[in-house]
């Protein structure tokens, strides 16, 4: 399989503080990869570095081209959809306007309405909330909206930052089922950052374990999940 994303020696930080100390990882076309780690390990920073939101060093190859140093909006236009921490809802716009925004940089505006209908098929709840102000949606609905909005970009790669954050267990389960389906049906490659290791390992093909800005373990998700140390530290049994 070809590599969709290849990260080499990635360093990044905020001001004087360096958060990432040379990460190497890659993601297969059509695959799901997860970055696991505790709070402050550098997971969110890794996604931000890919999106050009923090100063970074090293190499980030997306479809073979280095995208390091590109602006956030240019990275998005290449087909990388970032679903930020806290969902990034456009609170005072309607659900449908949020979806329209997801497609704002697309050139084929004719197909946008068709894609919105498709999103309503995937997320029937959003259809009920079509004309409702997005800020008044529940947390779970806003997360669904964030995912649907990202899909409106017709992304080649989706970056999901803690999609389970602040959601009820049942909602989380439903959402990961939808993510699995989307990965198959829409052929969307995904890089998922999660604290909920069990869930993320369940959906991912490959996994990387981050500790204080370095990758300490990598391999197929099943293998990582079976590891004694990982089980004790991250899965809690």
């Amino acid at each position: 399989m070809t590599k969709l994303l290849e990260v080499k020696g990635l360093t990044a930080g905020y001001g004087q503080v360096r958060v990432l100390h040379g990460l190497d990882f890659s993601l297969d076309e059509g695959g799901v990869t997860t970055l696991l780690g505790a709070n402050g390990a550098g997971k969110t920073t890794t996604l931000r570095a890919i999106c050009g939101m923090v100063k970074a060093g090293g190499e980030i190859l997306f479809e073979g081209k280095n995208i390091l140093g590109k602006s956030t909006e240019d990275v998005a236009r290449l087909g990388v959809a970032h679903i930020p921490e806290g969902r990034g809802t456009f609170t005072r716009m309607t659900t449908e306007e949020n979806l329209l925004l997801g497609a704002i940089s697309r050139k084929d505006q004719k197909n946008v309405q068709k894609d919105i209908d498709k999103m309503y098929d995937h997320f029937p709840r959003l259809k009920q909330r079509r004309l409702q102000q997005a800020g008044t949606l529940s947390g779970g609905e806003q997360q669904m909206l964030a995912i649907a909005r990202a899909l409106m970009l017709r992304p080649r790669l989706m970056l999901l930052d803690e999609p389970s954050f602040g959601l009820a267990p049942l909602v989380v389960k439903e959402m990961f089922e939808i993510l699995t389906a989307l990965n198959k049906e829409e052929n969307a490659s995904m890089l998922i950052v999660e604290q909920n290791a069990a869930l993320a390992l369940g959906i991912a093909d490959d996994a990387y374990l981050l500790e204080t800005g370095s990758i300490v373990m990598s391999g197929p998700a099943k293998q990582i999940g079976a590891d004694e140390n990982v089980r004790r530290s991250y899965l809690g049994y």
């Binding site: 956030t72 679903i83 005072r92 940089s105 409702q132 102000q133 800020g135």
Partner: protein
């Protein structure tokens, strides 16, 4: 930012009850159906067309001034209400528009109609250029930077090297234009209709803009700039353009204001005017375009009313009236209209 919350204050954000289909939660007009809105618009238009025949010239002039302020507030609303950027510097754009009209008419002998697009374009350019460095500033810091603009403008207009054009402290007196095509209207009536036409065109452009793709991009930046960039929105370009566009509206208002008042002078364009626009914006409703007219009326009439109550304490009376209005309508006229609309619908 606080003004953002004002318009949504009474729609609770957060968890919504499961399964309940809430109505569109938006300030004012958006919840009235398109048909009802058209009827309201036509009725208002009919009233606006008849008024000058029924009123004294001075009142007609006051209504014209109200519309001029409304256009300026419309411009500020595009920036603050829809793009989330603050400005205390709009008196400067208003001044540039006014002086552009005055200089073109009195020094160059150009017809007043042509001064409007020129004033608009000049202000767009200045606004856009000012918007570029302002990109790095947000909230209170942006307010401070624009404050500087407002503070500097009257003094720049008084500078002696510019005196030949600006008339220095004296300002410029403008000849009032007559009605064209031999229309049976006096000057005040004609300027009223002229301002009305310009205002309606600008208003329609603004409503079309905010429902367009560009408008959505502006609002996305207001709601969540980081997420907007993640969607591929070039926030720098849009923010600077929003500043330019807002200045365009306010510049046209300034040119119209100069024509109807027949006079420009540096001290008409102080920070007080900027704050007046901001007050007008808030009492009309941040993010609700029709509120501009109410804001314009407030800006013009409330100080007069306050003075009528007490000459010595007019400032205090004005303050009390302002507090009373904000207390009764916390999110401006927008929230008030919305509350009425949902009550009518509930029945």
């Amino acid at each position: 930012m606080s003004t953002h919350e004002e318009t949504v204050a009474h729609h609770d954000i957060g968890e919504s009850p499961e399964g309940e289909n809430r109505p569109i939660a938006r300030p004012g007009g958006a919840s009235a159906s398109a048909g009802a809105r058209r009827i309201i618009f036509l009725v208002l238009l009919a009233v606006a067309l008849v008024l000058p025949a029924l009123l004294k010239n001075f009142v007609v002039f006051q209504l014209t001034q109200t519309m001029v302020y409304a256009i300026a507030i419309l411009g500020l609303n595009l920036l603050t209400g829809f793009n989330g950027q603050f400005s205390l510097g709009h008196s400067a754009f208003y001044a540039v528009g006014a002086y552009t009209a005055a200089i073109m008419m009195e020094h160059m002998g150009i017809g007043y109609v042509w001064t409007l697009p020129v004033a608009g374009v000049i202000c767009f350019i200045i606004g856009f250029l000012f918007g570029l460095p302002a990109l790095r500033l947000e909230g209170v810091y942006l307010a401070l930077a624009t404050f500087a603009l407002a503070a500097a403008t009257p003094q720049i207009l008084k500078l002696s090297p510019l005196e030949h054009w600006t008339g220095g402290v004296q300002g410029i007196v403008i000849t009032k234009p007559d009605a064209p095509f031999g229309l049976p209207l006096n000057q005040d009536q004609w300027l009223y209709y002229f301002t009305l036409i310009v205002g309606i065109i600008l208003y329609i452009c603004a409503t079309n803009l905010v429902t367009s793709r560009t408008g959505r991009a502006l609002m996305a930046i207001r709601d969540n700039p980081i997420a907007a960039r993640s969607m591929g929105v070039n926030t720098s370009l849009y923010k600077a353009s929003a500043f330019g566009l807002s200045a365009f509206y306010t510049g046209i208002a300034g040119a119209l204001g100069a024509i109807i008042v027949q006079f420009v002078a540096p001290d008409s364009f102080t920070l007080t005017l900027s704050i007046g626009f901001l007050v007008g914006l808030v009492v009309g409703g941040v993010g609700w375009l029709p509120g501009a007219l109410f804001g314009g009326a407030f800006l013009l009439f409330v100080p007069n009313i306050a003075e009528g109550v007490s000459k010595g304490l007019s400032g205090a009376v004005y303050g009390l009236l302002l507090i009373a209005i904000i207390y009764v309508m916390p999110s401006g006229l927008a929230g008030f209209v919305q509350a009425i609309v949902s009550k009518v619908r509930g029945k």
